[in-house]
């Protein structure tokens, strides 16, 4: 097993850790961060496995994908943060309303 798999496993771990945080934390900022952690986990899996063939140059395609993914994640994060500020401005709390809206 090459070290690439180790990184991939770390990526999986980040993914689930992010998921845990996404679920249990109420504050929206934490949720947004958790999403980002999850995204990092996925990217890590993608990139790490690209280099798993020992002795060969890493596969460039996943790298390109990750760059694309990062930009998407950045965009989404920006939007999420702006939205979070709106939520706080409208409801006074940076948390999700847990009761269904009436």
């Amino acid at each position: 097993m090459s070290p690439a798999f180790l990184y991939a496993l770390v990526g999986v771990g980040l993914f689930t850790l992010g998921l845990y945080a996404l679920i249990v934390h109420a504050h929206l900022l934490r949720k947004i961060l958790a999403i980002n952690v999850m995204a990092s986990g996925v990217f890590l899996v993608l990139v790490a496995l690209a280099a798993r063939t020992q002795g060969a140059a890493p596969d460039p395609v996943p790298h390109a994908m990750v760059i694309t993914g990062i930009v998407v994640a950045v965009s989404a994060t920006a939007l999420a943060l702006a939205l979070m500020l709106r939520v706080r401005a409208e409801t006074g709390r940076a948390e999700l309303a847990e009761e269904p809206l009436e």
């Binding site: 998921l19 996404l22 679920i23 249990v24 999700l96 847990e98 009761e99 269904p100």
Partner: protein, 438 residues
Amino acid sequence: MNTVLSALLLILAPLLPLLLAFPALRSRLPRPCHIALLPALILLTVPPGVSIDLPWLLLGTGLGIDDGAGRLLLAMSVLIWALAASLLHTAKGQPADDRLTTCFLLTLAGNLGAILATDLVGFFTFSVLMGYGFYALLVAGGDEGARRAARVYLVFLILADLALFEALLIAAATAKDLGFESVRQAMAQSASPGLYLSMVLAGFALKAGVWPLHVWLLPAFRSSRPAVALLLGAVPVAIALLGLVRWLPLGEVSLPALGLVIQAMGVAAMLYAILAGAKRASLTRLPAYAAIFITGLFTTVLGMGLSDPEVWNRQGNLACFLIVSLGFGVAILVAANGWLQARCQYSALPEKQADDSSPWFERWSVAVTRWAAQMGTDTLPRLRAAWLANVDRCLRRIRIWQRTLDGSERFLQRWAYAVTLFLLLGIVVVFVGALSWI
């Protein structure tokens, strides 16, 4: 030319009164009731034996006049109806009543039509028209007593019509067409004419007020207008008896037992009429008892005819004379009665406040059916009328159900639970997918 004329007359005889029965037409004509009789009157002068087929009418019917009973009856009817028409609006202080005239003309049309009918359906149709018309005449032209009589008559009429309808069906199922002659023969050859015979007998007995079904006759005579009372014998009773003559396979079958029973009833009726009439002898009651007596006489003859066809073939005409005499006799008695009572003692008050309680037959039938319906509701609670509609309502009303629904939805909407559920679902998908593949 002559045939065309007589055919026209045949049709006009019942049709003209029908048309004149419409109030709007009548107001333009001076003496409508008499005009209505005109075709029938001319018809009496036409050479005997004319008839026309009207296959397009109703179920295919015809009109005709035979020289025997039919002609005689027609003559009697024209006479008595003319008399009654003259008396119709003569009661003092009585305004000319449109309804009364309409009923009068409808009854007239039914009466003439029944006499002229050459088949069962035609006869039935006209006699029903006559029956309901006469009921209305009784109600419209009488006081409370007459109304009570009319109600009874109506019930008898409905039952009679039902019985006759069944008889008619049986006849139609047996015979190839419904002309009197062919039905008579078909019934004579039929293997089981019992139901037919009993239905016909019951039906016409109800209509004619044969003893012991005469209960309505007495009050009817007592408390209706002279014009109506005049018609009592000639119209409902006479036509019902005519019906017996026409519908029964007389002269073809021999049914001694049935004939005997009928004869016995006829004799009993005569006895009753004599005894009761003698006991409560009064002029007002006399026509009624006379009618019962003659009907009894007729019944006896009929019974004899049924038990022995030979007797009927020889003396059948007697029955027709009896009918005619019934009509005339009753009419004369009524007229005499009215004359003697100075004509204006009649005190029926059509405008009098009638009681608003329902007629007895309505109350009775309501009670019975209410009971039946209640039984139905009790035994089949789940099949009540609105059970389907209740499903919808139930869904709205059950609070627990609602609370569960709302509560579960709130639960599902909580972020943490929802996402966990999502996670679980993902795992289940993999698990199910992998497991069954293995």
